[in-house]
């Protein structure tokens, strides 16, 4: 019987069939960060249990650490015990741990792939909903809450029900100025924020094949904003070339053996999916969110939606509330709306590829008066590579702040906030009410669109500059 990639990834990790569609799944890789990881390790210790397989667990602080230049683990005082706790617990349990300032520190979803911790075909979890990012390498990766996290630490397994399968094909060639972020925001705008609920999404099609790993990770990263906790791309030669030589990746004969296995990780040609969607990539324009859900995404040249045109009463109310929070008027163009802040960073768009794209546009331009613009590299590795290429200089000369790696303004868990009422264009993943700080107004966009906003001082179509 033909199998989907989900079938193959799932079946390969079943330790026991628990009945009624439930499986005891093996966890090959566990990433821990300072918020949920520290709490999980403490909960485990409180129960008198130990980490079953510390060699499969990798920890670093990203959420509650300052991104200010010269920061230490104590710069943001409320985060200090979390950072210190993670370090102490990791040492005690014998986990891999990456300290601030060391290569390996960074947003867990950036550091995992870049160190070769994330590999095709692994099952990978983290107490973080954007764990789906790792699917860009063909991993079965998903976020969990505190209880499941503790369960995985204690048993190296999780009790899971297999989700349904949804295949999204992005077909065709991206136009000038279009980024992977635009593809996925476009899709969420079209299908809605709950379209993927209960599903694992396989991204396929010619446009996905043409993308590098960073772009695939950007797309997989937003699976959760489509409602799916799992999203992935079948690994291919692009993936194997990316993985080769990374610190924790297999070497020599082991690598060859692994690649032979990884080549089997694709949906069979006649596999049947529970649902299929196709997107003609040529139709995608730069896409920006206007409201407070990622499904509030529209083309840059579209008008701000009118609640009176909403498809049902609930959405009419939700659109009204969103417009009110965002301080926007229906019917007017979104382009031209003045912005106060620009954030380039987060597990969605803080990789070296993102920063290169942003720097190419920032070079020779300058951040508009009154705009605060930050670049927060995703990891220490990204930061060092960017500095070696001179990207930090490009950003600084253009008036951007160049900061230390972490989650920073994406989630505002480290005291860094967009002020109340201020409008931000952000390369992150959530435009929720209060996400970037109480009262902050977030517009999600690609790195290029973020630079366009920074240098013009308004939401701007990058194709016009």
């Amino acid at each position: 019987m033909p199998r989907t990639l989900l079938d193959k990834l799932w079946d390969a990790h079943v330790v026991a069939d628990l009945g009624d569609g439930w499986s005891l799944l093996h966890v090959d890789r566990h990433l821990l960060h300072d918020l949920s990881g520290t709490a999980g390790l403490e909960a485990l210790a409180a129960r008198g249990l130990r980490v079953r397989n510390p060699e499969l667990a990798f920890a670093t602080a990203d959420h509650a650490v300052s991104s200010a230049p010269g920061r230490t683990g104590e710069s943001y005082a409320p985060g200090a015990p979390l950072w210190a706790g993670l370090r102490a617990r990791a040492a005690e349990a014998g986990l891999h741990y990456f300290e601030l300032g060391q290569v390996g520190q960074g947003i867990v979803h950036v550091m995992g792939p870049e160190l070769g911790i994330t590999l095709p075909g692994v099952s990978l979890i983290c107490g973080d909903s954007h764990t789906c990012t790792h699917g860009g390498l063909g991993a079965l990766a998903f976020g969990v809450g505190s209880s499941e996290l503790t369960h995985a630490l204690a048993t190296q397994t999780l009790r899971q029900r297999k989700p349904k399968s949804l295949r999204v094909r992005f077909e065709g060639t991206m136009g000038r100025g279009i980024a992977p972020k635009d593809l996925i925001l476009h899709l969420i705008g079209r299908l809605g924020a709950d379209a993927g609920t209960g599903h694992a999404i396989e991204y396929a099609g010619s446009a996905i094949r043409a993308l590098g790993i960073a772009g695939r990770m950007t797309i997989c990263n937003l699976s959760i904003e489509l409602g799916a906790k799992i999203g992935f791309v079948a690994p291919d030669d692009t993936t194997f070339a990316y993985v080769a030589g990374r610190r924790f990746a297999p070497k020599g004969a082991d690598f060859e053996r692994a690649v032979a296995h990884w080549r089997t990780l694709a949906s069979d040609p006649d596999a049947v999916f529970d649902r299929e969607v196709t997107v003609d990539v040529a139709e995608v324009t730069p896409t920006v969110t206007w409201g407070t859900s990622p499904e509030h995404a529209i083309a840059i040249d579209a008008a701000i939606p009118d609640p009176r045109a909403a498809p049902d009463a609930e959405r009419r109310e939700a659109w009204r509330a969103a417009l009110d929070y965002m301080g926007l008027e229906p019917g007017r163009p979104l382009a031209g709306t003045p912005v106060d802040w620009v954030f380039i960073g987060s597990c969605t768009n803080s990789r070296i590829e993102d920063l290169r794209e942003a720097a190419a546009l920032a070079r020779g331009r300058h951040v508009a008066p009154g705009v605060t613009a930050w670049v927060v590299p995703g990891s220490e590795r990204v930061k060092r590579d960017a500095e070696a290429e001179g990207l930090d200089r490009v950003f600084r000369e253009a008036g951007f702040a160049w900061r230390e790696p972490g989650c920073s303004l994406c989630v505002a868990a480290n005291g860094e906030r967009v002020p109340p009422g201020a409008r931000a264009v952000s390369t992150s993943n959530r435009n929720f009410v209060g996400r970037q700080g109480p009262g902050a107004r977030t517009h999600l966009a690609s790195p290029a669109m973020a630079v366009a906003a920074a240098v013009t001082g308004a939401i701007t179509d990058v194709r016009r500059i």
């Binding site: 985060g79 969990v144 397994t157 709950d194 209960g198 082991d254 609930e314 959405r315 929720f432």
Partner: protein, 205 residues
């Protein structure tokens, strides 16, 4: 985990779609507030006076006299989408909630509910709208996990489906970690086989 059999009481209608876990509980509250106090900060982004209770926000349903401390929430579709923070469940339970009825839930939040004894009930939109209309008066509803049904003040009975293993675990207040630890031999055996089949997974020195 707190076992769940049935709960009876007012059901607060809150039908906004896509209510995310960031809105349920701000991330900064998870670093500074003990788990048992999170209820005070639930939905603070939507409440003018987050610490609620006294005074409260008349515009926010859970702060109205009728629904303050209600054990049931009737929510909009895709409730609990977004972040994996289990603190969202703790905050809801801190408000006194034991069951949330909605058309759909965020996947991770849905899992987290079952880990803590908060019952998420999935019902079709028509049923949600009907129950919400009846609940508006503040008359008590019953969510009964044993009988797998919601009983409305009018006497209407709405059956719901629930995964049998999840139902059993909730009824018993099952400790999943304890249950899985009894399978240690199977896990060890699987890992031994995997070390031979995929040695690269295990070479992490």
């Amino acid at each position: 985990m707190q076992p769940f059999t049935a709960v009876t009481g007012p059901a607060a209608p809150f039908l906004e779609p896509n209510v995310n876990t960031d809105v349920v509980i701000r991330i900064e509250r998870l670093t500074g507030v003990p788990r048992d106090d999170l209820g005070r900060y639930a939905f603070e982004a939507l409440r003018r006076n987050p610490e609620g209770g006294q005074g409260g926000d008349p515009a926010f349903v859970l702060d109205t006299p009728r629904f303050r401390g209600a054990p049931i929430l009737i929510a909009g579709r895709n409730f609990g989408c977004g972040s994996s923070r289990e603190g969202a469940v703790w905050a809801l339970m801190g408000l006194g909630l034991r069951a949330v009825v909605a058309e759909s839930f965020g996947d991770i939040f849905f899992n987290n509910c079952f880990q803590n004894g908060l019952l998420p009930v999935v019902l079709p939109k028509e049923a949600i709208d009907r129950l919400a209309a009846e609940a508006t008066s503040g008359a008590p509803l019953t969510v009964d996990l044993v009988a797998r049904e919601v009983r409305a003040p009018s006497g209407a009975v709405v059956p719901f489906a629930i995964d049998p293993q999840r139902r059993q675990a909730l009824l018993e207040g099952l400790d999943e970690i304890g249950a899985t630890l009894t399978r240690e031999a199977e896990i060890a055996q699987w890992q031994a086989r995997d070390r031979a089949a995929r040695p690269w997974i295990w070479a992490t020195a």
